[in-house]
């Protein structure tokens, strides 16, 4: 699975920064059928976690109402230089993660 994380490359201490995330995932709803009529099992990213230098700053529980390749965006306060790590797990138990670095001056 591929994901993209976007942060400003540098920020002042205490500045509010925008974090943008996209994850490539089909987000199968469980309501669809194959051409042969067999139901396609539900498989969505059910939980997504964002850590800033190890500390959790954002958590989302997604469901079948979220479109494929989900896009998430939130704000946080730049405290110290380091990295923001996004990790997620889907209904099949498949995990993925992506990180981005930030410099706080």
């Amino acid at each position: 699975m591929v994901a993209r994380v976007h942060l400003p490359a540098a920020a002042r201490r205490g500045e509010v920064i925008e974090v943008r995330i996209t994850v490539q995932h089909p987000m199968e709803t469980g309501f669809r059928f194959e051409l042969g009529g067999k139901p396609i099992p539900k498989n969505v990213i059910n939980s997504l976690l964002v850590r800033y230098n190890g500390a959790q700053i954002f958590r989302a529980e997604l469901g079948s109402g979220i479109a494929a390749n989900p896009y998430l965006q939130f704000h946080t306060v730049a405290r110290q230089s380091g990295e923001i790590e996004v990790s997620w797990v889907d209904d099949n138990g498949e995990r993925g993660s992506e990180r981005a670095a930030i410099t706080v001056v």
């Binding site: 591929v2 994901a3 993209r4 976007h6 943008r20 996209t22 994850v23 490539q24 089909p26 987000m27 479109a67 494929a68 390749n69 896009y71």
Partner: protein, 261 residues
Amino acid sequence: MNLVNPVHFLFWLLLTGFAASAAELQKPVPLKSGVEFVSEDLRKLQADDFANPGMLWVTRGAKLWGEAAGASGKSCAACHGDAVKSMKGVAARYPRIDAGAGRLVDLEGRITLCRERNQGAMPLQHESEGLLGLTAYVAYQSRGMPAAVVLDARGRKHYERGREIYHTRIGQMNLSCAHCHDRSWGRKLAAETISQGHGNAYPAYRLEWQALGSLQRRIRACYYGLRAEMPPYGAQDLLDLELYLAARGGGLPIETPGVRR
């Protein structure tokens, strides 16, 4: 009506003159990319380099570019170096005749050939994440550059064949490509505005697919809509059509990864 009026005659000459040059390379006038027929929201989504979902495939392609594949143990980067430099403008010239293979190939086909010839790797399947990713990544390096296919004597043959297919009625709907994309672009087909049918945004992310897809997939979708038999991926008819479309939309900027409905 006085047809022999010299002013009318001159006007008639001019008109037929223009018609003849238009038949040479038939292009819709004015030339409009598909992005002009989509909603404001989709235009914004395509223009936003982060939110554009097609960029996920570009990111995948960038990773694959540096990964070794096949018996040679070489990555794309081992020969081509930095794609940002080496692949700039390349996609704008496809489809083209590949000298080594001696046949018409599109960008996907060229990547497959390169894997086979130089990497000794198994071909990537049509519409596989890997092939879409690499194609999107290579085409992305030409973004904003005008599509400019070369029509030499051999390319010309494929172009003519593509033009023939484009103007041939097919399927239960008994329509040709030209009926919608030449005669009726800008008009409504149910809720949608019919585009001029250019391929400059492909591989593109379609909301209907919820994924990135190739131009061949999009053309096959048109066959499906006409209730015609879909040519298999890689079929000569599809390649010829791709070349015809590229020449017909010559000068339009490459938009990969485009976002469409």
